[in-house]
Subunit: 320 residues, 2 copies
């Protein structure tokens, strides 16, 4: 049995997992991300984490086939460097090379976290068996990962796949990236929470009844739960949210016509009912509908392990 390590490098925690050939995590551990002591400290902590995972499972670090790091920001999979991340103290930092030196594992890879998650879903998750898929992550932002011909696609400079930063409403809501009207500003969990809060304020101002007025804390579930309880205002929020989400998904289909789109991130916890509500709206808008085979839309399955498994399988070439 061959084992690989996947590292989910986040701004708060570094999570690591030892993954077997069946994509099962056989050992798991994490440490807080120390962002104040320079990038070398992060390399040290990743390397120690790798040692610990192997110890816990009873494997020598030298027996690990590869280490793959899923990093926020722009990760250059050609050179193994993190070009830039707003959450980590890294700028053109050769993380793969340094982790390789420190661990003695010769195959160390780095990839943007959303891309790694998409690759994880393609290898071991909801898009398994397809060589051509796109993953959308609906969380704090809207992340994108593109798999073409069994490889992550991110452009000549590794900065592509920013599918959340497609403008869908010209001069619309302000996005964190500086543009106005990005898909992310309408379809992230954050955007859903904002829409829910705005509707609650509107209800208050108009003296309109809604179960959402009693929500102790507004989350991405508040409007969906309210809708399921028969609440009209809740349904209005969900309808608006689904409308923008479907608009962006139809864009993705018109651009890529991937075999499968997988949806991950917090909002995807709504499960298959989310896909059922989305599909008719997407089908009505997509190009060439009815004339060609249709893109499947599925909920991603790797959930919180997407970064670890996505990282671990970076060392895998499905064509070989």
């Amino acid at each position: 049995m061959k084992y690989r390590i996947g590292i989910d490098l986040g701004g708060t925690n570094i999570a690591g997992g030892l993954v077997d050939e069946n994509f099962k995590i056989v050992a798991k551990a994490s440490v807080p991300t120390v962002v104040t002591e320079g990038p070398e400290k992060i390399v040290e902590d990743i390397s120690s984490l790798c040692s610990k995972l192997c110890e816990d499972f009873g494997l020598k670090l030298s027996e690990v086939a590869s280490i793959g790091i899923a990093s926020p920001g722009i990760a250059n999979h050609f050179t193994g460097a993190v070009e830039y991340s707003c959450n980590l103290p890294m700028r053109k930092f050769p993380i793969s090379e340094l982790v390789s030196e420190k661990t003695g594992v010769s195959h160390v890879f780095v990839e943007n976290d959303a891309n790694a998650a998409a690759w994880g879903e393609a290898v071991a998750g909801a898009a398994k068996g397809s060589s051509n898929s796109v993953m959308i992550t609906l969380g704090t932002g809207v992340g994108g990962g593109i798999i073409i011909d069994n490889k992550v696609y991110s452009g000549f400079n590794c900065a592509g796949g920013e599918l959340g930063h497609i403008v869908i409403e010209h001069n619309g809501r302000q996005c964190g990236c500086g543009r106005k009207g990005c898909w992310e500003a309408y379809s992230s969990a954050t955007a859903l929470i904002n829409m829910t809060k705005e509707k609650i304020e509107e209800c208050k101002a108009n003296g309109r009844a809604s179960v959402m007025l009693d929500a102790p804390k507004v989350s991405g579930r508040t409007a969906f739960d309210a809708m399921r309880a028969g609440d009209e205002a809740g349904k209005e929020v969900v309808d608006m949210y689904l409308d923008y989400l479907a608009c962006g998904l139809a864009n993705i289909i018109n651009i890529f016509q991937p075999e499968i789109i997988t949806i991950g991130g917090g909002v995807s916890n709504e499960g298959d009912s989310l896909v059922e509500a989305l599909l008719p709206r997407v089908r009505a808008e997509q190009y060439g509908g009815g004339l060609v085979d249709l893109t499947e839309v599925k909920i991603a399955t790797l959930k919180n392990d997407a970064g670890i498994i996505g990282g671990a399988v970076l060392g895998l070439n499905l064509d070989k």
Copy 2:
């Protein structure tokens, strides 16, 4: 010297060219497209055109290395069939196979015309030397062609690359595809003409002076010419048009980060001054600007020969 034939199959004319290894058209001819006598008649006319091109140049048809057909609609490059076209009487029609039978040339390929043009620019035009480019055609509609790893990318069903049908204005202007707010509805030559006409009407209604009021016929050049003549209303149209065009181009960069974007179609006749006016707007909106190498934006160079040359080079594998 190896010769290939490129066929630009349009709804009005079938244009063909014999192309040498330096991508020079050494013979050229065309016939009207007969759409009323079924697809077999089109196969016959393409085959006769191929014979004529070879005769004109003094080559045997059997000496031709490949024939490539640039077709409107959804062309399946895996099977060689035109799946569907709204301008041609074809539905799941095995055009490559039939042209091969008729001509005796064993290598016959078919590709969507915008994709073929993008491949032509990548092999022999403004994106030459790059393995990763995107072409945008600003004509009656907005066409898109995506080149990844020296291959046309059009998704698992060959219907992708419909970059004109990315919604950039949710619930915006009606698009011919059925959606509202597509990039095509703002950035095609048709859209530019519509915006110009609307501004002329506005000037008339408000008694505002503009040289555009004297235009004998409104074209895609009217507003640009007026702007160059110092006309304020003309400048307003151009500014609005450039704003939408830049919005869509920044989307393309955020998605693909291609090495090069080439711009073709009627509007591209504005030339390098169009690129100069666009670039600052695009740079201001693109993701990761300043942190990574930047996508070049260039005017396409093959012009009206894009279909012929793009078709001819379909038989070419740059990796070999």
